[in-house]
Amino acid sequence: MSENSSAEGAAVVQEIVAAFPSGRGSLIPILQEIQRRQGYISPEALKALERLTGISATEAYGVATFYTQFRFTRPGRHKIQVCNGTACHVRGGAQVLEELERRLGISVGQTTPDGQFSLERVACLGCCALSPVVAVDGKVYAGMTPKKVPGVLREYAAQATQSARQEK
């Protein structure tokens, strides 16, 4: 992270902390907001949080690592969540996950080298009646099979090239 963006990051944390009531009860909501705005919990953010709240960075890190929602590396542009709920499991969710891993060339919890996709496994998205399901950036794909994986990925890869073209 360059010095400039680091300072920017600290300013964002300051803004977030100011928006919540003081007190220990706000720690998790603050961490959630930092992740929502910055995509992940960076060491810089934890240091800024320590200066602003007095909760030590190690303490906050200890809390954050307890919960699966928090991530500590920069996520990809598109977040793929594969449901690992019971209904998805018995209807072949694991095979869908493996196909995604193969197609993307990464394992669960990783981000593709081009920064396009990160792959996560979640406990249950609550769409059990439509299992197995995969969510990309919050959009849920129902009745997934390994065969449908390339089509779903193409939707987002196409988007990426399109927006790159527009930026030019």
Binding site: G25, V63, Y67, T86, A129
Partner: protein
Amino acid sequence: MDGLNIRRRMAEERWSALMSGAESVFFVGAATCGMAAGAEAVIDRLERDIARYGLNARVIRAGCLGPCCFEPIMIVRRQGLPECCYGPVDADAAGSILERHVMGGELCPEWSLGVMTAEGYGDIPSFWDHPMMRGQVRRVLVNCGVIDPEDPDHYLARGGYLGLERALGMTPEAVIEEVLASGLRGRGGAGFPTGKKWQFARAAEGSPKYLICNADEGDPGAFMNRSLLEGDPHAVLEGMLIAGYAIGASEGYIYCRAEYPLAIRRLERAIEQMRELGVLGERILGTDFSFDLHIKQGAGAFVCGEETALIASIEGLRGMPRPKPPFPAQRGLWGKPTVIQNVETLGNLPHILRNGAAWFAEVGTPQSRGTKTFALAGKVARTGLIEVPLGTPLRQIVMEIGGGMVSGKAPKAVQTGGPSGGCIPAEKFDLPVDYESLGAAGSIMGSGGMIVLDEDSCMVDIARYFLTFTQQESCGKCVPCRIGTRAMLQLLENISKGQGRPEDLRQLEEIAETVKMGSLCGLGQTAPNPVLTTLRYFRNEYEEHIEKSQCAAFACRKLVWYRIDPDRCKGCGVCLRVCPAEAIEGEKGEPHRIIDEKCIHCGTCVTACPPSSAAIYRESGDLKRIEARRQLASTVS
């Protein structure tokens, strides 16, 4: 209370205009499940066509009606015709229905699930007579799918906040009496009598007191709470007000998992609306009762469904449980008396207060009164959210409401209660679904997840799946749970790889009992249930895995071998190209062959093989045995 009554009269007028006016209405199921099935495309098409034809009609984004398997689903209302429920509909079907039903004035039987009246209409039967709906009693879910969850007038017009009004006219003690008399038990799983919990909290010293709504629906395979929060958020919030009043709380928290963004959005909106209605804040409806609400988002930890862990999480700590007593009703959030209730328990309260304890107790069994919602999923033909009287036999739920197996095969078991529950075998399907019967069968009611398993499900795999989950989610605070779940999982993994030993089963049972007895909280105390019930009812499957390295359901991957039938294989080479392990060989146009030593058992070749050939099949068992069997077969022939 006059302000609310005036508002209710206005709401009733708006509602009756909506129900009988000249404007046509499309209620589209737009809960998370509906959106996943493609409701957005249906809504887009309807809105475009309404504008294109200049129709006096509108689209309402409703919650989930329940039969998720027929989504996208919509109810169409037009003057002069009975309301009709259609599903599944895609954008084109929605366009046709708009033209024929709304513009042409005729029902469309080909997409119809039934008319919403009690009687049928011509050839079209009533929706309530649909095999999935017959046998259901909709109380908690009464508004889901048939109102706009973001319009408080819809809730008000259908009796919303009448329960609160009645409660505020009673003493808190009388409210507790009413709930005690109803026999309502906690719907989160343990089934503790709600009224009793309130008596403890009311009597406890300390101020302020807190009420927490546990919406951390963490059981994989369960979505009852999500549906209710998305489809009828005000009902849950009204329940919180009633509970808060009864125990003397002034503040409430809703602890909702972050994986439910739509539910959170609906709750936030509903809370704003409650302030406008005057049912939240200082001196609610002109009484001395003041109450405020906050939403806390869970951050992804299954153990936070446990009361004391949930409290720790709200306090900004690692979500670890602590020993009880003291119970939260005595010392809970910030050390103050706290009552924690499940979403569905709260959703029952407005009905109990509005209609009385006797009405509530009309359905159910003497020990388990009222209804229960279940998330019916897995291998069953009709999946979705259902609500049935407690005591309904499992068979009715699986075979009638669920319509049997989607595969047409025989059902094998039902898994209830998620990672804390167990598997009930098909021969016990006459079991009534109530707290005691499920407990006696070794499972639990749980919060309402119901995963149906058929012959293609392996019970060792199911046990391994749940243990993987509980082992990962074990917070690590107490030894029996931390070490015990790991040890059980290791044994199960060995068995599912064909490396189990006969003595492993006894060892599994021993560890399971220790974990059950010795764990600190409910997570550990119930974690062995999936193992114990499958060992109790499906021991033969464990033995097959151990003695023959065989998984008859082809679910334990390391025990599955793929074969190419040389008579069917056309040598197209598709499987060879997709095989990630380069374990397939063969010349173009000649039958291919799989090299077992290289095979990683992924099954990609089966999916890739063109249906016209369907040349790849599976075998399970010890390779030597399979080979011996094959040679025997060829000698015989």
